[in-house]
């Protein structure tokens, strides 16, 4: 605490995104309705600039800003690039269905604010900043979930909000308890004080913090909102809900557990491992007999968080955990967005049965769907395969071989429902409805599917970038 470092240039991507959100809000109030797409364009420009800035920052040494409250290191840099890229995809997905609607610009602004929240979650090194980022990531998401103002959307938003509010309170309580135990909220300080604090107190506080962060991640036991919120909201909003907050939350969780809790007596690796196993198992069982594609993807995302929690659980024991987590995050985001892009491009196809005979009508789109679903499953050479390989390796290396076995068994189980979707799509028959695929999301689906294969093949250099140490 000797020198104050308040250089806002370290937060350039966040500043870009926040600035474009505020500017977009103002613009939206003045622009005529048919020009509101400019708000999305502005957001896209901010995201692109932010990715460039994050790339430049990633090349430099790890630094901290604002008195150590915000870190710029491999975790932040990766999350920045992934979240900004994800925001870009969500913006692109939402332009077609929202074109010319009354509240078009508001949607784009909310998307950007939600993305900003995820960015802040990933970089925060102070529990109070984490709390602020949590709210910033949450509140716009509530609005996005119910954006359509229809029955399912209202239910989605209400359920999301009520559970979010409840767990948010628990989260803040947890932070208070940790504050009491560690006499501070900055991670640098907590790292010294928490190991000496009573384990029961730290454990209680951590339970509250976990409740909140797992809510954002959509993991067991805070996962109840996921299926309803995802099914009820519009496809682009659902794509956002299952991707962006999750990334921020998992990065925040990793940062919190690795830095301040490293020397603590609280058995958090075991707890996280059990939660990981429960998440993947419950998610898979929930997904088994879903017929609604969004609901199926919602349960699939719960199970995916389980795999993402594996490297978090192994973080203390294996040096491979960090690149594994970051790579899997990037691979998951890309693949999941690709699957949602397919859903977005076929707004009339709600159930698995509606996809029957898709191969005949839209071969390229079907191929993208197959790549994305098999990608989520972890079939080589897609990116998630390499992610899974890394995650399994980290788990075994970290002494959690049982978790790797559970994860492998779960992967097989997940095969069942992904194939339930692929099978009607590739088989013949089906009433050939006249509904055409929306062009922009369909192109985007092809691009993301191709990108997930490219990321899988070119995983070597990407993994290398993610290996660096955390900022102190």
């Amino acid at each position: 605490m000797t020198e104050m470092n308040e250089n806002p240039l370290f937060l350039l991507p966040e500043v870009f995104l926040g600035g474009s959100a505020v500017l977009g809000l103002l613009l939206g109030a003045w622009l005529p309705r048919h020009r509101q797409w400019l708000v999305a364009a502005l957001g896209a420009a901010a995201c692109t600039a932010g990715i460039a800035a994050a790339g430049v920052a990633a090349a430099g040494a790890p630094v901290t800003a604002f008195d150590g409250a915000f870190a710029v290191d491999p975790v932040t840099s990766t999350v920045r690039i992934v979240v900004l890229g994800g925001t870009l995809v969500v913006l692109a997905l939402s332009t077609a269905p929202l074109r010319g609607q009354a509240r078009e610009s508001e949607f784009h602004v909310l998307v950007q604010l939600s993305g900003l929240g995820a960015l802040m979650l990933a970089g925060s090194q102070d529990l109070l900043l984490v709390a602020a980022a949590y709210l910033l990531a949450s509140v716009p998401s509530y609005a996005l979930a119910g954006f359509l103002k229809d029955g399912p959307g209202t239910e989605a938003a209400l359920k999301y909000f009520v559970i979010g509010a409840l767990l948010g309170v628990l989260f803040l309580t947890g932070i208070t308890v940790v504050f009491a135990a560690g006499r501070g909220t900055a991670y640098a300080q907590l790292g010294g004080t928490l190991p000496e604090a009573p384990a029961a107190l730290v454990g209680t506080g951590l339970a509250g913090v976990l409740a909140g962060l797992l809510f954002k991640a959509g993991a067991v036991p805070s996962h109840f909102w996921v299926p309803d919120a995802v099914q009820g909201s519009s496809p682009p909003a659902a794509a956002l809900l299952t991707t962006l907050p999750k990334i921020g939350a998992l990065a925040a969780l990793y940062r919190l557990l690795v830095a301040p809790l490293a020397g603590s007596e609280v058995p958090w690796p075991e707890v996280v491992a059990v939660l990981a196993a429960l998440s993947m198992t419950l998610g898979n069982f929930g997904a088994f007999f879903q017929t609604d594609v969004k609901r199926l993807l919602a349960y699939s995302t719960i199970s995916q968080v389980g795999y993402l929690l594996m490297p978090v659980a192994a973080a203390a024991a294996s040096a491979r955990a960090q690149p594994a987590l970051l790579y899997y995050l990037a691979a998951y985001a890309l693949t999941n967005l690709g699957a949602f892009a397919v859903v977005c491009s076929l707004p009339h196809a709600r159930t698995l049965e509606d996809y029957r005979g898709l191969l005949r009508r839209h071969p390229a789109l079907t191929l993208s769907l197959i790549v994305c679903l098999l990608g989520l499953l972890g079939t080589p050479p897609t990116a998630v395969f390499l992610g899974k390989l890394e995650v399994f390796t980290a788990a075994v290396d970290g002494g959690l071989a049982w978790l790797a076995v559970v994860a492998a068994a779960n992967t097989v189980a997940s095969l069942f429902y992904y194939l339930r979707w692929i099978r009607p799509a590739v088989s013949g028959g089906g009433d050939s409805p006249s509904h055409r695929a929306l062009r922009p999301p369909a192109v985007l689906a092809c691009v993301t599917a191709a990108a997930s294969v490219v990321l899988g093949i070119a995983g070597g250099p990407v993994l290398g970038v993610m290996t660096g140490a955390l900022a102190g």
Partner: protein, 501 residues
């Protein structure tokens, strides 16, 4: 060179998918056959340039994911070269056989080409993750072939096939990760792992890794009790798909035993070899007995595959028996196992294509529905007869050489088990000859199901072009096997040296 062989079919598949929709059927099929022929020709060039006994050749290494210890590493030696050649032959045969295919030809050809890449890549891979990538992709491609072009119950059978083999592949992946973490520095490179023997002296760890690998490979092979996916998959798949499934995909499991499990886990393998011997014998006998009970021709052949794969498992298990005096015998067993892979690929491939011919004429595999076909279709009867006698191990065919070597080699180290396995030969001989007699001799009777033409046409040119070379090759290998054995023997000696560490 190897890379070109591996990637050529996949590139052709991508090209086919890019062609406009209205491209005539003949173009797709022509590309498929031409590419398969080129691949086979290139494989033969590799064979011609291969010097037996000098280890891995045609090696290519490229950095792929260095931080995860994964590299693109391919090469051939005496174990993989015969299998590569067999793969090329079988795919070309399937391309010929399918030249009258009419249903969604473009996708069919593209899938087969993709499948060819995965098979060739797997046998050439010298990196565990590369091996795994091809292993998994072969499952995906085969799933779509069965589900898309199979018979009535294809969707179920394809799902079952996918689930089972995918479970196996994940067990395999865990085993690979176990090997990777044991090695220092961590690597997935097969050559390095084989050299290093990372689990030496770590008996419990080695047993766990061997368990994971064993389950994974046993599912793919398949051995009893992991064989239950095989009969439905075979029965429901289109003829060319069955031929590839039995001829090539099953070999991925047995090849994995020889290439990965034995050389990398010698200590654990020696400790648990008896398990493999038992599994092998049970597979031999159980496969034969269940085949005996089948009423469908194709299902029966599927079960004889379980039986034939059982011999290979028996041989690799017996090869680990202690005692230096049995060295020659063990080498014979390993050589026989490799030879059996090639032989079984050719003969069973031919049998499944013949089953496809039968189905096309009569729309059923039910053996009781046919009788006296020999009078109507003498060539078909003759070819089936040749394939059946080859398959039951008659001297003069490749199957005899393989089974003789396996049994002669295993008898010394494991006399009781081998004696039991010999009974399996009798059973298969009985059931195959009985099937032949029921279907081809006696008064003429043909099924009168819907879609069946009244006349039973003899083998057509494209079918003959696919089946005759396979059988001819089986005879050539049975009469003059030296040119293949010369390639295999040094490699099997190498495997045994690694096993003795």
């Amino acid at each position: 060179m190897l890379t070109a062989i591996i990637l050529l079919p996949a590139a052709a598949a991508a090209l086919l998918l890019c062609l406009p929709r209205r491209t005539p059927r003949a173009v797709h099929l022509g590309v498929w056959a031409a590419v398969s022929a080129i691949v086979l020709a290139l494989t033969l060039v590799v064979w011609a340039g291969y010097r037996p006994g000098e280890g891995i050749q045609y090696e290519t290494y490229a950095r792929w994911i260095p931080s995860a210890g994964v590299g693109y590493h391919v090469g051939v030696d005496g174990l993989s070269l015969p299998l590569l050649a067999m793969t090329g032959v079988l795919f070309l045969a399937c391309a010929c056989y399918a030249s009258r295919e009419t249903r969604r030809v473009r996708d069919f050809a593209a899938l087969f080409l993709l499948l060819e890449t995965t098979c060739l890549g797997l046998f050439a891979a010298l990196d565990l993750i590369l091996f795994f990538v091809f292993f998994d992709l072969s499952i995906v491609a085969m799933y779509f072939i069965i589900a898309g072009w199979g018979h009535r119950g294809a969707a179920r059978a394809a799902l079952r096939f996918f689930l089972y083999t995918f479970v196996g592949s994940l067990a395999l992946l865990l085993g690979f990760i176990g090997l990777y973490l044991a090695a220092d520095p961590h690597t997935f490179d097969m050559v390095a792992l084989t050299r290093e023997n990372p689990l030496a002296g770590r008996s419990a760890y080695g047993a766990l890794v061997l368990l994971a690998l064993g389950v994974g490979l046993a599912v793919k092979t398949p051995t009893v009790p992991f064989h239950t996916w095989l009969p439905p998959a075979h029965t429901e798949a289109p003829a060319a798909g069955s031929a590839i499934l039995a001829g090539v995909l099953l070999k991925m499991g047995t090849y994995g035993f020889l290439r990965i499990a034995m050389p990398m886990l010698p200590q654990a393998w020696r400790e648990y070899a008896l398990v493999f011997v038992l599994v092998g014998v049970v597979s031999v006998l159980y496969g034969a007995l269940v085949a005996l009970a089948q009423t469908e021709f194709k299902r029966m052949i599927a079960y004889t595959s379980v039986n034939h794969m059982g011999y290979i498992i028996l041989a690799v298990g017996a090869a680990a028996a202690a005692g230096t005096d049995a060295a020659d015998a063990r080498r014979l067993a390993v050589t026989g196992a490799t030879f059996q892979m090639v032989s079984h690929g050719l003969l069973t491939g031919a049998l499944f294509l013949l089953a496809g011919v039968l189905y096309e004429r009569g729309r059923t595999y039910e053996m009781a529905a046919y009788s006296g076909i020999a009078a109507r279709a003498p060539l078909f009867a003759a070819l089936t007869g040749v394939a059946v006698f080859g398959s039951l191990g008659l001297p003069g065919f490749s199957g005899f050489i393989a089974e003789f070597q396996i049994l002669a080699g295993s008898l010394g180290p494991r006399p009781v088990a081998t004696a039991l396995a010999v009974a399996g030969i009798l059973l298969t001989a009985a059931l195959l000859v009985r099937a032949l007699q029921r279907m081809f001799l006696g008064p003429l009777r043909l099924p009168d199901t819907a879609g069946a033409s009244g006349a039973f046409a003899d083998v057509r040119a494209h079918e003959g072009a696919a089946i005759v070379p396979l059988l001819a090759l089986a005879v050539v290998l049975g009469l003059v096997p030296r040119f293949v054995l010369d390639v295999i023997e040094p490699a099997s000696r190498g495997v045994l040296e690694l096993l003795a560490r």
